[in-house]
């Protein structure tokens, strides 16, 4: 799949680099980015860098193991294809990436910004804590006041810099008259600073500078973890997009020119080579071929195409070159109409409230009311604003959601890391929580449960002589069925017969002469046979009845295990496909799926998922095609393989990076475990509040108690999260 996609991009590396630099007076070095999915150790780094640096024209090559990528600075005439073949010779799979699509991750400004704030908060809190410990240890009078003033001098600028994300978030929430988790955080930090300054000025005993700083530090740690998890997913998702550089060949007055798909207009003549994907909707003007529509409809049977046939964007041309006239481009193509279906279905996802939001909704008002009540109570009781304010600040600091801020990100980071090592990419922040609730799993057939490559099923039914002829004909074609036939026959030890005048007739098959007789391998009608409903190629030898070579779609690795694991876990498994009755039933029987639906249109799939949802089921949809996108978006949570179309990957929450399907059921287990840990973490945070809040309200809390309680709860929560790994 990927090889097919990259072949188009490798043809012209110069075109990829040129749009950014329209005029180049001096030939500068170009950046080439390669994706290396296979590297995993220090030996891999050394080999890849040595090989690349030894290649003439390479200025500097550096491998990034975390991103499994190599960045190469090279002379402008160097082509990525050369480097790919160099790496393939030493045994590493490599794909070219579009450096333009990757640029967003390289300058990771937001992450660096958060890390810097985290560092400032950390170093400042360490210093202030040092001074606070001396105060707790018994410093008095002028010494204590001096320590407090130094603490203030460190804390005020540090918080002014480090807590900015909280200030801006709280402000944007307050501006639209809403409360979020950041409002009590900001209130606690500000109140702590104000009362501490006031206390220091009056040489009071308690100052909370250390609490304000550690609070900022722990909360920033939670934010940073959260950000890192999502950034890793985003960069990998970007990489998948960068693999498909959208280009098309436009015919202008008979001359071919390569242009970006976005530049195509209605009425343009476009050449689509065998193996290429239709960039736009259109009508075939000339050429004969076969079309693979499986990504759009789920049908595995290739469709014959000739002049006059309409094609849709996303279909794959199999055998002969086709010239099409564009009838709809860009947003008018059927591909984009599917995307509109997704936008409608998206509302299902936004209805989900994450556990963190639920907690915040209960938490934020509760904390404010509690702190306001203790202020009022103490003011009425003692008549002293200073005491009352001190106690209100202590309540806010102690209840501040330090542990709550870490509870979710710490667990999601640990769980996402675990799943990433297994080859799954969590794209959506709440995907794990939703995955944990799944009770029904809906699978698509073509390209999801099956790998989309055909497999010969009736090799034994043919005589050796026929097989030898068929092999000779099949080897002359790159049609998927021919490739499968060649592979199966070669494995069975068949040698090709010697044929003369072998020619491929695009859209029909291959023919030749064998001992003076005409032999053909191809479509049913062309070889004089009756069309069946199974995928087949027919062999006709002059004077004999045509014989069928039957194919079935081969099962994806791990598909059987995944389905079995789901059934063992008591989940309902449903198979919905756009393919014919026969092939869907065959696959369902093979996997033991009782519930299956064939010949489903894209809308049917989405409707079925919605119907399940309305019955109160939480549906996991696993699919790869355009016909699945609406269903993927409508489902409670969705997974698509990396080989899926861009639109399907965008619509799904989780992307499966490898070819193996079996991690899906593991992912469900991990998700259940992760959600359990998140709930546990909330409980830990609550228990700590139940113990500490009465102390604070009673006016017994000291900065020492606040610091101890805050740190222990945050550390317990983080350690608990690590148990997910």
């Amino acid at each position: 799949m990927t090889a097919q996609l990259t072949s188009g991009t490798a043809a012209c590396p110069g075109c990829i680099a040129s749009p950014a630099e329209p005029a180049r007076p001096i030939p500068e070095d170009v950046q080439i980015a390669l994706s290396l999915p296979g590297i995993h150790c220090s030996a891999c780094i050394a080999t890849v860098e040595r090989e690349l640096n030894a290649h003439p024209g390479v200025e500097d090559a550096r491998v990034n193991l975390t991103l499994k990528r190599a960045m190469i600075k090279a002379a402008p005439e160097l082509r990525a294809a050369d480097l790919i073949s160099v790496l393939e010779r030493v045994g590493y799979e490599a794909h070219e990436l579009d450096p333009g699509a990757l640029s967003a991750t390289q300058s990771d400004k937001a992450g660096r910004d958060l890390l810097m704030r985290l560092a400032v908060a950390g170093f400042a809190s360490m210093n202030v804590m040092l001074l606070s410990v001396s105060v707790w240890a018994g410093a008095t009078d002028a010494t204590r006041d001096m320590f407090h003033w130094i603490s203030a001098a460190i804390a005020l600028p540090a918080i002014g810099f480090a807590a900015q994300p909280f200030f801006s978030n709280a402000w944007s929430a307050l501006r639209v008259r809403r409360l979020n988790m950041d409002v009590p955080i900001v209130l606690a930090i500000l109140l702590a600073l104000v009362t501490s300054l006031w206390e220091t000025a009056l040489s009071g005993k308690h100052a909370y500078f250390d609490a304000a700083l550690t609070l900022t530090f722990f909360l920033l740690a939670g934010r940073y973890l959260d950000y890192r998890t999502r950034a890793a997913a985003r960069s990998a998702a970007e990489e998948l997009t960068a693999l498909e550089v959208p280009r098309a060949i436009r015919l202008l007055d008979g001359a071919e020119e390569e242009v970006a798909v976005a530049m195509l207009n209605v009425g343009d003549l476009i050449l689509v080579r065998p193996g290429g994907r239709m960039p736009v909707d259109g009508e075939i003007v000339s050429g004969q071929s076969e079309l693979d529509r499986s990504l759009l409809t789920g049908e595995t049977l290739p469709v014959f195409a000739e002049a006059g046939v309409t094609v849709s964007a996303g279909e794959v041309n199999l055998t002969g070159p086709l010239t099409i006239r564009a009838t709809a481009v860009g947003e008018d193509t059927s591909l984009h109409r599917m995307a509109d279906l997704v936008a409608v279905a998206e509302s299902g996802r936004s209805r989900y409230t994450s556990l963190a939001d639920k907690a915040a909704k209960l938490y934020a008002p509760g904390v404010h009311i509690l702190s306001a009540l203790s202020f009022l109570g103490w003011y009425i009781y003692s008549g002293d604003v200073r005491t009352a304010l001190n106690i209100a600040a202590a309540v806010l600091i102690i209840t501040c959601p330090c542990a709550l801020g870490l509870a979710v990100p710490a667990v999601t980071t640990a769980a996402s890391g675990r799943l990433f090592r297994k080859g799954m990419l969590i794209k959506h922040a709440t995907a794990l929580e939703r995955l944990a609730e799944v009770d029904t799993v809906v699978f698509d057939k073509t390209g999801t449960l099956t790998s989309g490559t055909p497999e010969l099923t009736n090799l034994g039914d043919h005589s050796r002589a026929d097989l030898e002829i068929a092999l000779a004909l099949a080897e002359a074609s790159s049609h998927p069925l021919s490739v499968a036939l060649t592979q199966a026959a070669r494995e069975a030890g068949i040698k090709p017969a010697t044929l003369d005048d072998i020619t491929e007739v695009p859209g029909f098959g291959t023919e030749g002469t064998y001992r003076g007789q005409r032999v053909r391998l191809g479509r049913a009608a062309w070889t004089g046979a009756e069309e069946g409903d199974q995928t087949a190629a027919w062999l006709s030898v002059e004077g004999q009845a045509p014989e069928a070579f039957l194919f079935s779609d081969s099962l994806r690795t791990g598909a059987a295990e995944a389905v079995q694991a789901f059934r063992d876990a008591g989940k309902e498994v449903i198979l919905i496909s756009g393919d014919t009755q026969g092939s869907v039933q065959a696959l369902a029987d093979k996997l033991g799926i009782q519930n299956w639906i064939a010949q489903a249109l894209p809308q049917d799939k989405a409707k079925h998922v919605e119907a399940l949802r309305d019955q109160g089921h939480h549906v996991l949809m696993v699919g790869d095609g355009l016909n699945d996108t609406a269903a993927l978006a409508a489902a409670h949570v969705s997974i698509s393989p990396a080989s899926a179309l861009d639109a399907a990957r965008v619509a799904s929450d989780i992307v499966l990076l490898g070819n193996d399907l079996s991690p899906i059921s593991d992912a469900c287990d991990t998700a259940v475990k992760a959600t359990k840990r998140i709930r546990e973490n909330f409980r830990i945070a609550t228990v700590y509040n139940i113990i500490a809040v009465p102390l604070a309200v009673a006016g017994l809390a000291t900065p020492l108690i606040a610091a101890l309680a805050m740190s222990t709860s945050s550390i317990t929560v983080s350690l608990n999260a690590l148990r997910v790994r």
Partner: protein, 52 residues
């Protein structure tokens, strides 16, 4: 207590040194490939001196 006059500036200075060092590591992209850097240390090539 006069010793505080030395100790406090020293502790602040050391903290500042740590912070500046950290800022330098972030600015020079030293956290871009944590996994690769952990492996590179085991690499046989360029063991005695950094890569030229």
């Amino acid at each position: 207590m006069e010793v505080l006059a030395y100790l406090i500036p020293i502790s602040l200075f050391l903290g500042g040194v740590g912070l500046v060092a950290f800022v330098y590591t972030v600015r020079s992209n030293q956290y871009d490939d944590p996994e690769g850097d952990a492996r590179r240390i085991l690499n046989d090539e360029w063991d005695d001196k950094p890569k030229p």
